[in-house]
Subunit: 296 residues, 2 copies
């Protein structure tokens, strides 16, 4: 399953890369800089975990890849927007992302702000386009669900709590909610897209929500472990910085050993949410192990 | 007509204020700061010109205010997001907006970035919500058209050109395109919303596009004139700053006298685009004069 998963991750990455190349505007005109920066930020980078989840979620319900890859590109635009804004000096002030200078380092802060704004907007443009799906009801559901996941009670709230709890000692409940909002909500949306497009049952949707919830937390705990133990070169971004800037991590609160044990527990739990699906969910199951064993 | 227009502007402002109060999340939880900042930025301020255009546009096609006021709130969320990000130190670095400290002055830069992000997202959440309109086709059209108007080839492109031409001497063509994108595209969307919801003819839509185009430019030229001649207290924001930061304005390029003449010409032209509409368009006609005669 290891090799099969690697191939599927690579396949999702290739497909979303091609879709992004097609969907991102060409960099010309006097506004070229922001268009170039959008491509710089979005192309050729990252694990493309969310696009993988999106494609796999579609396959559970027999939705063709052609539709799902556009949805995956929208999800990735949102993910990249959140990284570009998160890296800004006023936020996490990071110089390195996916092994390259961050957008505000490569260009400037104003361009980075506009790049994030434009990627966020592009996500909604893609989802509402009738080339994504012929049924406006489906397109609207995608837009509505995404907006809820990433708005002031979703991802943005997570970012706000992350900033508000700097140099504080938030309890495990606060950090869990913070991470559920900051990274979990978009992961959950990616996992649910197939169910939305495939008009799946409520039961199937809830199973995917449970999967996404546990997977997201396991992912974040592993991220925190890598931030403490990792190697900057392999991670392609600065490591050991969360502690340095007074961010509460799962590792701080639980200790490395308990955090690792908890991540593994959650990863097993995530897989069991998929019990009602047949072998179509095998790669999603395999991902749960991959998430906790990854080195970057 | 002057009084009638004033009353209609006040009515639109009141209605959108009430809608925003209803649609903006309440400020509670550990993420309260960004929710409070969203309200701080969006409530109780501005001329609410775009909400007025949205409501009037709906009335042209017999669409009820209840629908249009939600659309107007979405349009205003986008407008406010653009102001909050535009005011940031890395962008125009403004301390004063609508007579109050800007969001990054009142709170901090990180909160201002997130506030803009959340308001932008909220606009799409409102438009895709079935409470806005029962037909998903209409909701999707609104989302798609808005995303196009304010994205990398729309409002964001205008912002980028605005920054890229600082301390340069762009020609009148560049400045016209800059302003059409930066402020004109959202004004055009506001004017077209009634046609989208009311499923108007192409002819009617084109007429509104023409109206919006000329009105937007007349509005911007008057803004530039007020920036040179205006009074900070009356404008509720810093004036005389465009020249100070090396921004090319219509007044720089054309001179005050020609800019004023051109604004009046465009305002008359804007009104004539409405010839195919009956007296339902009288307030939109009256607005064209109001725009060029305003003192703030």
């Amino acid at each position: 399953m290891g090799t099969e998963l690697s191939l599927a991750l690579k396949d999702a990455a290739d497909k979303v890369e091609e879709a992004l190349d097609d969907l991102l505007p060409d960099a010309n005109g006097p506004e070229a800089q922001v268009l170039e920066a959008m491509r710089y930020a979005a192309m050729g980078g990252g694990k493309r975990l969310r696009p993988f989840l999106t494609l796999q979620s579609g396959r559970l319900f027999g939705v063709d890849d052609e539709t799902m890859v556009r949805v995956a590109a929208a999800v990735e635009c949102v993910h990249v927007y959140s990284l570009v804004h998160d890296d800004l000096p006023a936020m996490d002030d990071d110089d390195l992302r996916r092994g390259k200078p961050t957008v505000h380092k490569k260009y400037d802060e104003a361009t980075a702000i506009l790049t994030g704004d434009a990627l966020l907007t592009l996500a909604f443009e893609i989802l509402s386009d009738d080339e994504t799906h012929p049924d406006p009801y489906v397109r609207c559901k995608l837009v509505a669900r995404l907006a809820k996941a990433i708005g002031a009670r979703g991802m943005v709230a997570g970012q706000m709590i992350d900033l508000a709890t700097e140099n504080q000692s938030p309890d495990i409940g606060t950090v869990t909610r913070l991470q559920r909002l900051k990274t979990g909500e978009l992961i959950a949306f990616a996992c649910e897209t197939g169910a939305i497009v495939g008009r799946a049952s409520k039961e199937a949707r809830h199973a995917l929500e449970g999967y996404a919830h546990d997977l997201g937390l396991a992912f974040q705990m592993t991220d925190d472990l890598l931030d403490v133990e990792g190697d900057a070169e392999e991670a392609g971004k600065a490591v050991g910085k969360d502690a340095g800037r007074g961010k509460a991590t799962f590792v701080d609160i639980m200790g490395a050993e308990r955090a690792r044990a908890q991540a593994e527990l959650l990863s097993g739990q995530a897989a069991r949410h998929l019990d009602l699906f047949d072998e179509k969910a095998d790669l999603l199951r395999a991902l749960t192990e991959f998430i906790t064993n990854r080195q970057s």
